[in-house]
Point group: C2
Chain length 116, copies 2
């Protein structure tokens, strides 16, 4: 049994200006992380889930990135305003938010059409 | 199917001096993260696993902390010299390193005997 029902990692990577791959945060900060934390707390999830910041999740072309474990569900292009759907539909309801999921073919590959 | 066979998060939290809970890194750096990366690469795991840095995993009294997903296996008091066992026994062999696991009763609780 894991310590948390679900463990969510929000990429906080910030690359130097002009880097060939994009950054998940514009300035090393993320309203998305704070929104997810607040919405999860408000939904009564308390310490049943944990919302963590992480280093680069290596899916940069699809960022801002979020991954939910133990489900192994990857969300891409996630905005702070998506936090409510992730918390209510996935963390509370148990159903991943399909519109935010990154296609399997685009995960963990160097030949994704989104990578130049 | 997750993007990685296994996804490992190594806590890199650094608290201010005198903070009531301990830090997983003494100076914000971690030889453990580098060792895990090097050993995983040497074992031929390449992009089948990812070794990430993370923010505070909230199991500070048992740090330095590592969590392995999707297994949900939590390791505590992990030293750089433990990287070989984690990679060879768990990531390659599929068997968690029992001597490094944090007891279930000590995870995600405020009344653990290790917390003052």
């Amino acid at each position: 049994m894991p310590a948390f029902e679900r463990h969510i990692f929000v990429c906080h990577n910030l690359r130097p200006e002009g880097a060939p791959r994009p950054s998940c945060t514009a300035d090393g900060r993320s309203d998305l992380h704070a929104e997810l934390q607040q919405k999860a707390k408000a939904a009564g999830l308390g310490n049943r889930v944990r919302i963590n910041k992480s280093g680069c999740l290596d899916q940069c072309e699809h960022g801002p990135m979020v991954v939910v474990y133990p489900d192994g569900v990857w969300y891409g292009n996630v905005r702070p305003e998506d936090a409510t759907a992730i918390v209510n539909e996935h963390l509370v309801g148990g159903c991943p938010v399909e519109r935010l999921r990154v296609a399997e073919d685009c995960l963990n590959t160097k030949i994704c059409p989104h990578r130049s």
